[in-house]
């Protein structure tokens, strides 16, 4: 498609599970009706916030680490083509095989082809955002290949035929009793006396997956980091399911977005301090595995990596928005977000929920795709996400930027001005001069009439109705401030006072 010779090419947007699907306000409204969900999320997000703050405040150089992390990622984006080529050369020299995928469809078909080549029809999987994004499990199922999620939370979601609602803890919307019930219902051979103790449930998962790990011939993973100067890949995890998948099978297929690169081995010292503390609120996660191509006699001997674009190049082209690609998927932003805490992850539709999802999804797909233009409004712009972000992505600024992209794209498409356009024009006319504003204020008594005897306006017409959907507007005062001021400062000869001239704008 991009056979451009100096011509500007159209951005190549991503596909897969990246779409809101329905507008955020509508989805949020539905999710807010679920009191159990709100209770579960409130409990979980507050627990993780406290943990994160504890371990972050332990480090005297946390802000310096954030500065370094941010600069490294900025440098990666600026040097991306060169770093990708360097990584490819090193990974290949070490016996790994690289595949490139323009979009979700191409990535899925590469992975399915690699699995088919092994003759296997089952794979074990490590939790991975990239494979969620491209809808790999669904695709493999269509191809007659069964993919077993091995992360506990992913297993819960998969057994329940549900969707993840958080990038770190996909089953955050379920409490222990709900999880026990899912195990009893869906896990073959589950002990009928299973209790809802987290340790008992974890043991049930161990029993359930053990045989799979020990016999699997093919594993599919994502990657947290890729080091350009050595061709090394890293997976950060807790349970040991990752180690099982990365170590025991004969074939390992990793799917990774092109933006995950780090230039050098030294950069790992920054990110391995930033990620665990931001993510699970631990000083270090239990297990991190690093592998560089193939190691003879240790681990998989067929090692593949699928490098995924799927809209990343389009996001990179947005100068204001490209820093969304700095994201290391720690989930700190969603854990501190007042909107996420109440609506949960499903309201965002996309694989990427929360504040980062509200910018990343529309950047990857284009603002006009399937209601993704509603996502940048899913925020109060309070800035908690920016404070929590370990690589200092200025999410509020990008949200505002994407809102303007949305407004521009709508304006570009319509011949007839919208209610919002008309309203904004009117406001601009009225607010541009004191005389005009005074004229408009003459209409205040009308508002008092509309409010009626209970002095509340409960329903505004048109798009303004959004404001009164969940709150009333008090009746306007009998007198406007400007009116009051003029009367208060009258001189005996009935002209406004000049005493306060210096206070006038």
């Amino acid at each position: 498609m991009s056979t451009f010779l100096g011509m500007p090419s159209l951005p190549a947007f991503g596909s897969g599970n990246l779409f809101a699907g329905e507008s955020f306000p509508k989805a949020a409204h539905r999710e807010l009706g679920n009191a159990q969900l709100r209770a579960n999320l409130g409990h979980a997000t507050h627990t993780i916030r406290d943990k994160r703050i504890n371990v972050v405040s332990e480090l005297p150089d946390w802000e310096q680490l954030r500065d370094a992390g941010s600069a490294i990622k900025q440098s990666v984006m600026a040097r991306l083509p060169e770093l990708l080529e360097q990584f490819e050369e090193n990974f290949t020299a070490r016996g790994g095989v690289i595949h490139w995928a323009r979009d979700a469809k191409e990535a899925n078909s590469i992975v399915a082809g690699l699995i088919r080549d092994t003759g296997e029809t089952e794979v074990v999987k490590i939790k991975s955002m990239a494979t969620q994004e491209i809808g790999l499990n669904e695709y493999l199922e269509e191809q007659g290949i069964e993919a077993f999620e091995t992360d506990l939370a992913e297993l819960i979601v998969q057994l329940d035929h549900d969707k993840p609602s958080h990038i770190l803890v996909p089953a955050i919307h379920k409490n222990r009793t709900e999880i026990r019930d899912i195990f009893l219902r869906e896990m073959p051979g589950a002990d009928p006396d299973l209790t809802n103790e987290p340790s008992v449930l974890a043991m049930a998962a161990r029993e359930h997956l053990r045989r799979k790990f020990l016999t699997a011939k093919v594993a599919v993973s994502g990657a947290n980091f890729a080091l350009a100067d050595s061709g090394t890949l890293a997976v950060v995890e807790s349970e040991g399911n990752g180690r099982m998948c990365l170590t025991l099978p004969e074939t390992l297929i990793t799917v990774m977005g092109v933006e995950k690169l780090l230039p050098t081995w030294q950069d790992l010292e920054v990110f391995m301090q930033l990620l665990p503390r931001s993510s699970t609120g631990e000083r270090m996660n239990p297990y991190t595995s690093l592998w560089t191509g193939v190691t003879e006699g240790d681990g998989p001997q067929n090692v593949h990596l699928v490098l995924l674009d799927n809209g990343r190049s389009a996001a990179l082209a947005d100068e204001m928005g490209r820093s969304a690609l700095h994201c290391i998927r720690c989930s700190a932003c969603m854990n501190v977000c007042p909107v996420y805490e109440r609506t949960g992850g499903h309201a965002y539709g996309s694989t990427y929920p929360g504040p980062i999802g509200a910018i990343l999804s529309p950047l990857l797909t284009g603002i006009e795709a399937e209601e993704n233009n509603s996502l940048p409004y899913a925020s109060s712009l309070c800035g908690a996400c920016y404070d929590a972000c370990p690589v200092k992505i200025n999410i509020p600024d990008i949200l505002v930027h994407l809102r303007s992209v949305d407004v521009d794209s709508k304006r570009g498409k319509k011949k007839v001005p919208s209610q919002m356009d008309v309203g904004m024009k009117a406001a601009s006319w009225a607010l541009s001069s004191g005389k005009r504003l005074g004229l408009v204020e003459k209409g205040l008594p009308l508002g008092r009439i509309a409010a009626g005897p209970d002095k509340k306006i409960t329903k505004l017409p048109g798009i303004a109705g959004g404001w009164t959907q969940s709150r009333d507007i008090p009746a306007p005062p009998a007198q406007s401030f400007r009116d009051w001021w003029a009367k208060e400062h009258q001189t005996p000869d009935n002209t406004p006072s000049t005493n306060n001239k210096e206070a006038q704008p």
Partner: protein, 219 residues
Amino acid sequence: MSARDDILTRIRGALKDSPEAPEIPREYRSASQLDGDALIELLVDRLVDYKAQVAVVAEAEVPARIASLLEGARTYVVPAGLDDGWLAGLDGGGDGGAPGSRRDSRRRLDSPAQPLTVAELDGVDAVVTSSAVAVAETGTILLDGSPNQGRRAISLVPDHHICVVRAADIAGILPEALRRIDGTRPITMISGPSATSDIELERVEGVHGPRRLDVIIAR
């Protein structure tokens, strides 16, 4: 155009504004001030916090400590390059016979050349390995697949991991530790026994990896 060329062309097009690659400010700590006993104390504190069991012993007492930890094990595996002396407490009699003369019958040896199968490893109760380097501040032990640590699978499949850390291999903070190892080896960073926080974000130790981690710090 191949997918590779297509994607690289797209990315170059996206960067047509030639954004600057900034200098990386590395003002974070690159080394800690701790040494000797302070390092050991911090590492112990962090490991205990992860619910690992820790013993600090003199180098000469390592064999006895390993032997006592393995008392209940029916079988155990060691990498072929493990210090033979560490296993002396397990070989018959302690009468000064030649190493291996009365080798403990519970022991299985593993090496890349003669690996145990996954099924064999699954039948083994415990594993004893050395380690490459440790990080006191985060309670992290790094294995790099050297002959005294073995293949990654042996420290993963058995349910009980006994890991020896030499005091000289303890670094204060992560940057110091990463400078001491070769990143292209197969590396496993271990911070406590396997764990999950997937249910209500409550940490539970012991999932798929070894449920019991015993660390012996040898000074």
